[in-house]
């Protein structure tokens, strides 16, 4: 069937004076299948669009080419206009003759403007309609990890009317913050109680994920609980698996024991100081030996230092290289600690730590004093290395998700921050992403809850149906696209008793086209950026007209 291309040129209020528009118009009319070329001055305004629409209707135009300002400004408005004229919004092809032509070059740019228009016309030839479709999404949410962040996600989602399944590897909910007096304080007990009473939250403890398939809106997950293996479906998944603290004895040249203690041990002591035989005279905190670039140990050391002063009255030393104060309220706590007599000793080279006379001896070069000093501590609280939770790698491979360079959830790509993953519908909140404090974790939770709600609340999602599509006839089932898709949007589906082919999820697809480029059988068509369309543009460059 003959296509009827309408070309609309805009001279931007007649300001694009280095383009000879009548010449462009004249030559464009000669292009194949072009039935109309119109010159306008303000296509971006309402009146310009109205003019264009009536021309489209009157001229029975079915492909629209607009040569005007950058598509980044008005592409959306133009697509909406096409819908108004009864045309599929995908039948639009744009040429950037302003920002990337008239404004970009000195002198006459008529030839270039014409070429850009011709490129857009050639591309328009190969456009196919795209239809928006509603796809159902499963409204249930899987939350992995029953610590503070996981519990908060579940509660907030339930508040908004979404049912969640909270999977926790341990015996009970509570996580790492249970039993600690944190700053800010987190109401772990009341949260746990609220969850138990909430009928929209299913809690599975002593449970782990074993398999994950599918994409956003339709994840199929297998959960092992004891001897049982449960199969569930979810629309979205939120990781809140926290972190694992680790004390590396090598960092302290001492084995953890009576005097080199963990933060947990200190907390125990602080809860019941009367149980100690001897009040400790001196307690030291050492930071920046396991990891110079970590916040959490600083935050807990500062809070604990104050607690020690208050409850034990001991001398307190904090040995550190650079104090991490880049979180809200920390500078205040630091100053309070200093006011209360906590001594901060800064070092450049690692302190030498050993056991002597039943105490811990810390020797270092105090850079403020400029001298070697020795401090004997009754207890030295060891800095914890903040590590990814055990099983993070396994989980990431079950859900085919990337982990970052340190093994934490969520790739370090800034486009994913704060809580998204490269796979739509999967989110990571809190310390499972890395060295995150409670306040930041709380913010993460809210962000993930809202994003999840947006995806699932209505039970359906609007997609452009089959924008990127695998031709089942051509698919050779080499699995390359499945492996290569950075968003995990492709899966194998059975088409008949003999064959399985690759299929792209419209909802999970982010429209990059990497699959289309890599498919060895050229079985993947990407509407709008298909091979035909791109090649047509390339061919149109410089073709004599």
């Amino acid at each position: 069937m003959q296509i009827r291309i309408g070309v609309f040129l805009c001279d931007c209020g007649k300001s694009l004076s280095n383009i000879d528009f009548p010449k462009v118009s004249e030559r464009a009319e000669k292009l194949q299948d072009v039935v109309h070329v119109g010159l306008h001055s303000n296509l971006c305004l309402k009146e310009g669009i109205e003019e264009m629409l009536s021309t489209i209707r009157d001229g029975a135009i079915d492909r629209v080419v607009i040569a005007a300002c950058s598509p980044k400004l008005k592409e959306d408005a133009f697509r909406n206009a096409l819908e108004e004229a009864g045309l599929n919004s995908n039948f639009l092809s744009l040429a950037n003759i302003r920002e990337q032509c008239s404004w970009a070059h000195e002198g006459d740019v008529t030839e270039k403007a014409l070429e850009l228009t011709a490129m857009a016309v050639e591309r328009a030839r190969f456009l196919k309609p795209l239809v928006k479709k509603d796809v159902p999404v499963n409204k249930e949410v899987l939350v992995v990890g029953g610590g503070f962040a996981g519990m908060k996600v579940a509660l907030d989602l339930a508040n908004l009317g979404l049912r969640t399944t909270l999977v926790e590897r341990g015996l009970a909910l509570g996580g790492r913050l249970e039993g600690f007096e944190t700053n800010p304080a987190v109401p772990i007990n009341s949260m746990r109680k609220a969850i138990e009473e909430n009928r929209d939250i299913e809690v599975l403890t002593s449970a782990e994920l074993t398999r994950g398939e599918g994409e956003v809106g339709d994840f199929s997950i297998r959960i092992k609980k004891g001897d049982e293996e449960l199969s569930r479906s979810f629309g979205a998944i939120i990781f809140a698996t926290g972190y694992r603290p680790e004390i590396s004895p090598g960092d302290f040249q001492l084995r953890p024991g009576v005097n080199l203690i963990s933060q947990e041990k200190l907390t125990e002591i602080l809860k019941a100081p009367e149980r100690l035989e001897l009040r400790p005279k001196t307690i030291g905190f050492v930071l920046d030996v396991s990891d110079e670039n970590c916040r959490l140990p600083t935050l807990s050391a500062l809070n604990d230092a104050l607690a020690v002063k208050e409850r034990l009255g001991s001398e307190v030393y904090v040995f550190c290289k650079s104090l991490k104060v880049d979180s809200e309220g920390v500078e205040e706590v630091y100053r309070e600690a200093r006011d209360r007599g906590v001594v901060f000793v800064k070092f450049e080279e690692r302190p030498r730590i050993c056991s002597e006379d039943g105490r811990v001896k810390v020797e270092l070069n105090d850079i403020l004093l400029g001298d070697e000093i020795t401090v004997f501590c009754d207890f030295l609280v060891a800095e914890e290395r903040i590590m990814p939770s055990e099983g993070t790698e396994a989980l990431s491979s079950i859900l085919k998700m990337r982990i970052d360079s340190r093994g934490f959830c969520q790739d370090e790509n800034v486009h994913l921050y704060p809580v998204s993953c490269e796979r739509k519908g999967i989110f990571c909140v809190g310390a499972c992403r890395g060295d995150l404090d409670i306040a930041r974790a709380s913010t993460d939770v809210a962000a993930a809850v809202l994003s999840t709600y947006e995806l699932l609340a209505s039970g359906t999602a609007i997609v452009e149906a089959e924008r990127v599509k695998v031709d089942p006839e051509k698919c050779r089932v080499c699995l390359t696209c499945i492996r290569v898709c950075p968003h995990g949007a492709i899966r194998l589906v059975r088409v008949d008793t003999e064959r399985e082919v690759a299929q792209i999820s419209d909802l999970a697809c982010e429209g990059c086209g990497i699959c289309a480029a890599i498919c060895p059988a050229k079985a993947i068509d990407f509407e709008g950026y298909g091979d035909e369309q791109i090649l047509a543009e390339v061919q149109a460059i410089g073709e004599s007209l």
């Binding site: 931007c12 209020g13 305004l45 700053n183 880049d326 809580v419 709600y453």
Partner: protein, 414 residues
């Protein structure tokens, strides 16, 4: 009960909040005092060398564009909140819009008005290249017509008849269920630290100046003579962690290290030094980068106390090298002051209008530490640096979190 919401401030946090709310189907009014949205981040630069350094500036343009085309977001530029009544679920907000002599919805950015404007410097200027909406702006203080003289050159030449000098300030009343305050921050004025020479010597710059320079030019040349930098000093904690700013601005160490690396990458023979108190290098994606930097960037613990110009045009910096325990003088050709995030001075007015509290440091006060979006007024939430210093990703997260709180309010209102 109103189901729409108001976001005050179109910077990164406000934009994130607006998008999150709008994507959930709510109608959002986004008001912004400037003629364009995007806030500080829109004028910042990418700090990549051969790899991305995670500064997050590149995430902004896409978000601004999404706001511009979103069917549920109404952007009101040149606007501010003048009054508030009502309460959660039912706020009545009085918005005052400055006269938009060039309404953005009529401006096609052809530039002809600026061409014919007779004043020098021009009263009509082109928008910054990142501006959303991308429309020309009239500077009232320079416009002859607005000063009472006869001049209709721009109005006559405008092809869409967009320019109208009869525009008056407009009062609009908006009925909204929830309000998000995302008014951003002010940069610490480095001139307040006179001993460091900002404003006196052209080659003393702030971090903000660097952002603008790289955004426009792509590289740093000495402002005084256009030559390549050879000895660069960064000075941390300018306007942070001092008597009047009892907090860490969170962004300065990272941006300084990124800039230091970038300058070194572009000028491999340059010497780059960072003077600091405590180096803030925590955060996702930074540690590796920092470790790399330690190889060819000099880190000196101890802040300079004085910067003096020499007769040869260099800058002599007097500092205490705490690690060595010595007082030194060294010359540099550029000194970059890592200025911090300060609360806006006019927060007072907005705080009074909305009835929300300011905290000790001058930022808007969050009611509780675990929920730093909530204010003392139900239904009014905080997003971004107006509540406290944070970087771009944290501001986006904070904006989304504010939207979540606002959403809960709106859901209850339905």
């Amino acid at each position: 009960m109103e189901t729409s919401s108001l976001v005050i401030g179109g910077g990164v946090a406000g934009v994130a909040a607006a998008l999150a709310l709008a994507d959930n189907g709510s109608q959002v009014y986004l008001i912004e005092t400037e003629p364009s949205i995007g806030g500080w981040a829109a004028s910042f630069c990418c700090k990549a060398t051969d790899v991305c350094t995670k500064c997050s500036v590149c995430v902004v343009p896409q978000k601004l564009q999404q706001v511009a085309i979103h069917p549920h977001i109404s952007i009101l530029t040149d606007s501010m909140v003048a009054g508030l009544s009502g309460g959660i679920g039912n706020f009545k907000v009085e918005v005052l819009q400055k006269p938009q002599y060039i309404p953005p919805e009529r401006c096609i950015a052809c530039g002809m008005c600026a061409e014919v404007c007779p004043t020098e410097p021009k009263a009509i200027r082109s928008p910054s290249p990142e501006a959303v909406p991308y429309s020309y702006v009239l500077d009232e203080s320079r416009c002859l017509r607005l000063k009472g003289e006869t001049c209709d050159l721009c109005r006559d030449i405008c092809p869409t008849n967009a320019i109208d000098f009869n525009h008056e300030p407009e009062k609009k009343e908006l009925g909204v269920g929830a309000i998000i305050v995302a008014t951003g921050f002010e940069v610490f004025d480095a001139r307040e630290m006179g001993c460091l020479g900002y404003g006196r010597y052209p080659n003393v710059l702030t971090g903000l100046d660097l952002e603008r320079i790289f955004n426009r030019e792509g590289y740093l040349k000495l402002p005084s003579n256009g030559k390549d930098p050879k000895k660069v000093a960064f000075v941390q904690c300018i306007g942070s962690r001092d008597e009047s700013h009892g907090y860490c601005s969170q962004v300065c160490c990272k941006y300084a290290i990124r800039f230091a690396r970038l300058i070194k990458y572009q000028n491999p023979n340059a010497e780059v030094t960072i003077f600091y108190i405590d180096l803030q290098t925590a955060g996702k994606g930074f540690a590796q980068f920092y470790e790399e930097c330690q190889k060819n960037i000099r880190f000196v613990r101890g802040l300079p106390v004085e910067v003096l110009g020499t007769s040869s045009g260099e800058l002599e910096v007097r500092f205490e090298n705490i690690s060595e325990g010595t007082v030194k003088r060294e010359t540099f050709d550029v000194v970059a002051l890592s200025v911090g995030i300060s609360p806006k001075k006019d927060s007072w007015d907005l705080a009074r209008t909305l009835g929300i509290n300011l905290g000790e440091c001058g930022f808007f006060d969050a009611k509780e530490p675990l929920n730093s979006n909530e204010t003392n007024v139900e239904g009014i939430f905080l997003a971004g640096t107006c509540q406290g210093p944070r970087d771009i990703p944290d501001s986006i997260a904070h904006g989304m979190a504010a939207a979540q709180s606002a959403m809960e309010v709106l859901e209850r209102c339905k």
